[in-house]
Symmetry: C2
Subunit: 143 residues, 2 copies
DNA sequence: TGGCTATCGTTAGCCTGCAAACAATCGGCT
DNA sequence: AGCCGATTGTTTGCAGGCTAACGATAGCCA
C-alpha cells in the first residue's frame, strides 16, 4: 500500500510543463519555416543581435541573449563553421573575442528576418491579436 | 553599405525569446528548490506520471510527457541509475519495456510533489492570482 | 502459412544548456 | 614595479532535445 498519488497535482496544469510545451512547439515551427539552410533559433538570435549592435565580444553577445559562456562558445563555433561569422582577438583588450557578421550573413539576414516574423505569427496563431499582446506582457513579467 | 538592420524587429519582443526566458527562469527555480538530491525537472515529470498512471511502457511514458524516444531513453536510464525506477520487458509483448517506480521513489514522491507546488508558485510569483490563471489558459491554447 | 505494415526501442549525430574548475589578461592600488 | 581582484574565455562533464536510420516484434490479412 504505497502512498496514493496526490490527486490534485496535475502535471499538465503546471506552468513549467505549459512553458516547455509552448516553447517546444515554437522551436518546431521555427525549424520548419526557417528550413534546412537557415539558422537555428539560437543562431538566428545571435545573428540578429550582431546585425543590430555591430561586432560584440563573445561575452557581451551571450549576455544579450541570456546564454552562458560555454553555450555561446558552441553557438559561435557553429556560426563560424557555417561561414556567417568571424572571430578575432580585440587588439585593445586581449581577453576579448570580437564576433562579427560576414557579408554572406548580412546578405541573408533580411530574408531571415521576414521568416522570423512569420514564425512569431505562427506561434501566436492560436490566439487573437489581443491575447497575443496579453501573453507577451505576462511572459515579460515572468522573466 | 550593408542593408541596415530591420529597425522594428526587436528580439526581446518575440514570443520565442520570451518563452525561452520564462522557461529558463522556471528551470533555475526548479533546480534551486528541488536541490541536489532531488530529481531534475524532466525526471520529476516522469516520476509523477508513473505515480499517477502506474507502470508504463517507455513509449507511452514519453507520449505523456511530450518526449521523443531517444530522450525518454536517456531520462529513464538516469532514473534507473539513481535507483528510482526499474525497467523490464513486458512478458505479453516483447517490444515493450515496462518502467516502474521503486519503493524509494514512492517514498520520496510526496515530499517532491510539495516542493513542486512551491516551484510552480515561485514561477508565477511575479503575477497575481488572476494573471497566473490567465497565463495558464493562454499557454494551453499555444501548445 | 507467409508476408506487410505498424509499433517499439536503439544508435548515431547534432544542437542547446548548466555548473565547476581553470588560464589568461586587465585594471587599479600600493 | 608588483600584487590583487575582476573580467573573459576555455574545458570537462552532465542533462535534455531533435532527426534519421535501423533491428525486432506484433497483428492483420491474403
Amino acid at each position: 500500500m504505497g502512498t496514493s498519488p496526490a490527486p490534485d497535482y496535475q502535471l499538465e496544469d503546471q506552468v513549467g510543463h505549459l512553458l516547455r510545451r509552448a516553447y517546444q512547439r515554437h522551436l518546431a515551427l521555427f525549424q520548419g519555416i526557417m528550413g534546412e539552410d537557415g539558422p537555428t533559433s539560437m543562431q538566428f538570435a545571435a545573428l540578429v543581435t550582431l546585425w543590430r549592435q555591430g561586432p560584440l565580444s563573445q561575452n557581451l553577445l551571450g549576455r544579450g541573449l541570456a546564454m552562458d559562456p560555454p553555450t555561446v562558445k558552441g553557438v559561435v563555433a557553429r556560426l563560424m563553421a557555417r561561414g556567417w561569422v568571424t572571430r578575432h582577438r580585440d587588439p585593445a583588450d586581449a581577453r576579448l573575442l570580437r564576433v562579427a557578421l560576414t557579408p554572406a550573413a548580412e546578405a541573408a539576414l533580411p530574408g531571415w528576418v521576414e521568416k522570423a516574423r512569420g514564425i512569431t505569427a505562427a506561434t501566436l496563431a492560436p490566439l487573437g491579436p489581443a491575447d497575443a499582446a496579453r501573453v507577451g506582457t505576462l511572459l515579460r513579467r515572468m522573466e
